[in-house]
């Protein structure tokens, strides 16, 4: 990496961290530290919500997913605007009326302490582990591509976030997220423009979109219903709705963002504009991945995008097989480019027969190319059974490193780091406030001064930060951890949402019934996950509906207090 790239990367990150610390300097109280003194305007809330949700994996994985699978992943977000409306109507007014610091405080006023503690505990377990992964996931990819030490990357990234989050609390999180979001969207738009400009001179933007469409990469909408198909309109609207209601309505890392609003109006506008902007933002990121795909129809892509893992194979007895497969891959690419050019001529001449003939030929060539890549993956696994054979996450970053101009590489690495830091800071802030408000202040040290709780909040932020860094460091020794923690989220989200839905809408169900319903629902969700093949997105509605169903059941069956 050049000095200019290093300058852009370090300069951007240092500026944001220092700006956050400077902007939030001075004396604070607990209200200011955990709720930002309710001073945020709607655009800050909106950017903060978007920056919290956008992790580094969003920018590393999503373009790669579009490269492999097209743009159908966009449908996953169709439930989000509906969730924003429901939360604006039902959740926000209640949170404001009760003047809560955390979402779980509401559960005590509606049910009892044990239900509040159960929901807060589920959140701390799930989010505490996820914070480690938010740091670890980009670190492992960047260290693999750039040759950095993964633990050093974890520690530096984690400590910078801890520093400004501890110093400025919620306000520092919001202030820095505005800058981080600007870097993220600015960087991705620049990347998109450069990718389009890097297409061959005889391929216009319209041609590129045509090629992408004919090669099934613009598969944005699928109305056919299929339980086994993870992304279609119906799974996006229903499964996505439950997931996003739970995430934005009950996950403190998001609730804290809009509770820092100046008024209900500002909080609502922040959420609703997130509902308006999120889908176009994901569209842009996926579209960049599709343009990278079109670029690689004319410029030879590597047979496997994770260069480090591939190069290790050269040092084994399988090197000969790999060279043979690479030769076949090269021949396959040349053949594919020839047919893509034929198709392009057909498109330009509006010759449907030529287009159809090229498409039929391409199907066979692509299947052959896929078979070659699968053979490479099986070789990698034979050489090292623990090797990471999924290279989708490496498509975009390897493209950036190989083809982007100097300076832009540093900017795009800053995008990835900003995304990781913005999510981590929200998570640490939420973990600390939940620990202090729902556990420490409520059950352990109930009568202390504001200064004491402020100090405790700072210490818990440091504690959770160190835990996240430690977990990120140990994560490299465990298999399939990222997937495990993603699934962990879906295992808990449905149950937590179920408790809140009962709290908001089903007055008939009381404290004991909802508590035991949540315990049983959680056990059944875990049982469903371990014994069936149900996709983990569906665990969200299942968990929620089980809490509601068992809530009614226990309300009838359990003896009532008089």
């Amino acid at each position: 990496m050049s000095y200019l790239d290093w300058g852009v990367l370090v300069g951007t990150l240092a500026f944001i961290a220092l700006y956050g610390m400077w902007k939030t300097r001075g004396s604070q109280n607990i209200e200011g530290y955990l709720k930002g003194n309710n001073s945020e305007k709607w655009w800050t809330i909106c950017l903060s919500i978007m920056a919290t949700q956008a992790s580094a994996i969003t920018f590393l994985s999503t373009p790669g997913q579009a490269y492999e699978d097209g743009m159908r992943f966009l449908q996953f977000y169709f439930g989000l605007p509906i969730a924003m409306v429901i939360i604006s109507v039902s959740f926000i007014p209640i949170y404001y009326r009760l003047k809560v610091y955390t979402a779980y405080e509401f559960l005590e006023s509606r049910f009892d302490l044990k239900t509040r503690s159960l929901a807060a505990f589920l959140f701390l377990v799930q989010r505490g582990l996820a914070a480690g992964i938010t740091i670890y996931a980009p670190a492992i990819i960047l260290s693999s591509i750039l040759g950095w030490n993964v633990n050093t990357t974890n520690i530096i990234l984690g400590l910078v976030v801890v520093l400004y989050t501890v110093t400025g609390g919620t306000r520092a999180v919001s202030v820095t997220q505005k800058q981080q979001m600007a870097v993220m969207m600015g960087g991705m738009i620049v990347a998109g423009i450069i990718v389009i400009n890097m297409l061959p001179p005889d391929v216009s933007f319209y041609d590129a979109v045509q090629v992408a469409g004919k090669m099934d990469k613009l598969n944005l909408i699928n109305f056919s219903f299929d339980w086994n198909d993870r992304y279609n309109v119906w799974s996006g609207v229903t499964g996505g709705l439950f997931l996003f209601m739970s995430y934005f309505g009950t996950d403190q890392s998001q609730v804290a963002r809009y509770l820092s609003g100046k008024s209900i109006t500002e909080s609502r506008l922040g959420l609703l504009f997130n509902g308006l902007l999120k889908i176009p933002m994901q569209f842009i990121i996926l579209f960049i991945g599709v343009m990278v795909f079109v670029f690689y129809q004319f410029v030879q892509p590597p047979v496997f995008f994770n260069k480090v893992v591939k190069e290790r194979l050269y040092e084994t007895s399988y090197a000969g097989n790999l060279i043979q497969l690479e030769t076949e891959h090269n021949a396959n690419f040349k053949e594919k480019t020839r047919v893509v050019k034929d198709m392009l001529r057909g498109i330009q001449a509006e010759d449907q027969t030529a287009i159809n003939s090229a498409r039929a030929e391409l199907n066979g060539i692509e299947a052959e190319g896929k078979a070659i890549r699968n053979e490479v993956k099986s070789l990698l696994q034979k050489a090292n059974p623990k090797a990471e054979v999924k290279d989708t996450d490496y498509v975009f970053i390897s493209f950036v490193m190989q083809y982007m101009p100097t300076g832009i590489i540093g900017l795009l690495l800053a995008v990835i780091f900003c995304a990781s830091m913005s999510s981590t800071s929200s998570e640490l802030n939420a973990l600390a406030s939940t620990t202090v408000i729902d556990m420490y202040k409520r059950s352990f040290r109930t009568q202390a001064s504001d200064t004491h709780y402020l100090q405790a909040s700072k210490l818990f932020t440091i504690g959770w930060g160190l835990f996240a860094i430690l977990f990120a460091t140990l994560a490299s020794q465990l298999d399939n951890l990222i997937q495990a923690v993603n699934i962990l989220g879906s295992l808990f989200y449905g149950t937590i949402l179920g408790i809140f839905v009962v709290g908001f809408y089903l007055k008939y169900i009381k404290a004991n019934a909802v508590f035991w319903a949540a315990v049983v629902a959680e056990a059944l969700v875990i049982l469903t996950y371990t014994t069936t093949e149900v996709g983990f997105l569906w665990l969200n509605p299942i968990g929620c509906l089980l809490v509601i169903g068992f809530g009614y059941f226990f309300q009838v069956v359990l003896p009532q207090k008089r």
């Binding site: 169709f78 045509q210 469409g213 944005l220 008024s263 609502r268």
Partner: protein, 44 residues
């Protein structure tokens, strides 16, 4: 900031009440689905 003053009666900008704003968000979602469907069909 006194949150008691933050009541549900605050209006969104450009709208007389929240309801049309909510309809606008849902309407935009429907419009996006229609546009994406058209893109899928046109370039297929």
């Amino acid at each position: 900031m006194d949150q008691e003053s933050s009541t549900d009666n605050h209006k969104p900008p450009f709208f007389k009440s929240w309801r049309p704003f909510y309809y606008m968000v849902i309407g935009t979602l429907i419009l996006q689905i229609v546009v994406f469907y058209a893109i899928t069909q046109y370039f297929e």
